[in-house]
Symmetry: C2
Subunit: 205 residues, 2 copies
């Protein structure tokens, strides 16, 4: 019998993915659920809905609410919050680097730590995650040599992997982040669905 | 010191307002928080965002997810769920009748019960809430004579009250339902924020 697992889908620019990323490993550990971190790009999915930026920018009422809601959530979790400028950040570079660390073949021990550190840099410290120097700092902070990893992130193979992941997200019907998917095809959208998704995964063995 | 209260804003066509309406009175009672039921119309608010129907129809991926998510939520709460046809239902009549029952001057004891019964008729039994016969049945089921109430619902005064309520919702920055607002101006959107809103209201005395 396979251990229960949950796929955690996120775009690094996604605001509600920040608290999800900061919580998910501890909660999954308590629940005995394994995790697959699945960074992908929301941009192409938004574009297919006719949006050229975040819906939080397109619909200012919703955007205004989201920042206040996120502030309350972070306060409840004792997480610092700084609003990154500009918003949304360009998440392509971070996603490509994360895929190097999360690679199935070479499963590097720093992949998940890198993802968490990118969220922290962006939303706790307000740093720009589209800046290769910032990404390099994050890698070096994890004891990972930045130059070869950033080079690997830009390889054609790795670019294709991110494209394939984003296409898989589209096929699965994802439309936002964070999203959690179970082995039996159930989809849960939003940081506020994380606990429910873990319960589902526990049942799904 | 005033007792803590929470305003519960809903459009009768709103899907996630169904579980909220079925839960809120018991949860508010346990929390010692008073409630104001505030039926309003989302239509004019959606229109101001350029939408001519529910976003769940405009964005099919989100709509598909919403129905599945609602199904899981209702299963967890042991609430029956039938998808109403068409969706969204026209909620104008139900909102006007509810305002008669919830009227400040003549606070009728059936106002909240009527709201809950409309949600049950629509989402548990799949009945059409734009049908005066259905609304009449619901009123009679509560021991309320339907004809005079439906007549009062159509009075100019009552129509103006619903318009004023919807304008107040817009001024407060509401963009969806259910929404919960506290006396100190905090806004919580979504059935999944009900517990958090009640905690906030308890603190806000």
């Amino acid at each position: 019998m396979a251990a229960p697992t949950l796929d955690f889908w996120f775009d690094f620019a996604s605001t509600y993915s920040y608290p999800a990323a900061m919580r998910i490993r501890a909660l999954a550990g308590e629940a005995g659920v394994g995790l697959n971190f699945r960074p992908f790009l929301l941009g192409p999915i938004f574009k297919s809905q006719g949006w050229d930026t975040s819906p939080f920018n397109l619909y200012p009422l919703k955007g205004h609410y989201m920042w206040r809601d996120l502030e309350r959530i972070c306060t409840d979790l004792s997480l610092p919050l700084r609003r990154p400028e500009p918003f949304p950040q360009q998440s392509l570079l971070a996603a490509r680097v994360a895929l190097v660390g999360l690679g199935e073949a070479s499963h590097e021990p720093w992949g998940e730590e890198f993802c968490v550190a990118v969220y922290r840099a962006q939303f706790a410290h307000g740093r720009r995650i589209d800046d290769a120097a910032v990404i390099g700092d994050i890698l070096e902070g994890l004891g990972v040599p930045a130059a070869p990893v950033i080079a690997a992130a830009g390889s054609d193979d790795n670019k294709m992997r991110l494209r394939a992941t984003t296409e898989e997200a589209q096929r699965r019907g994802l439309f936002g982040a964070p999203t959690f998917t179970t082995c039996d095809g159930e989809l849960f959208w939003g940081n506020d669905r994380l606990e429910r998704a873990l319960l589902w995964a526990q049942r799904d063995r």
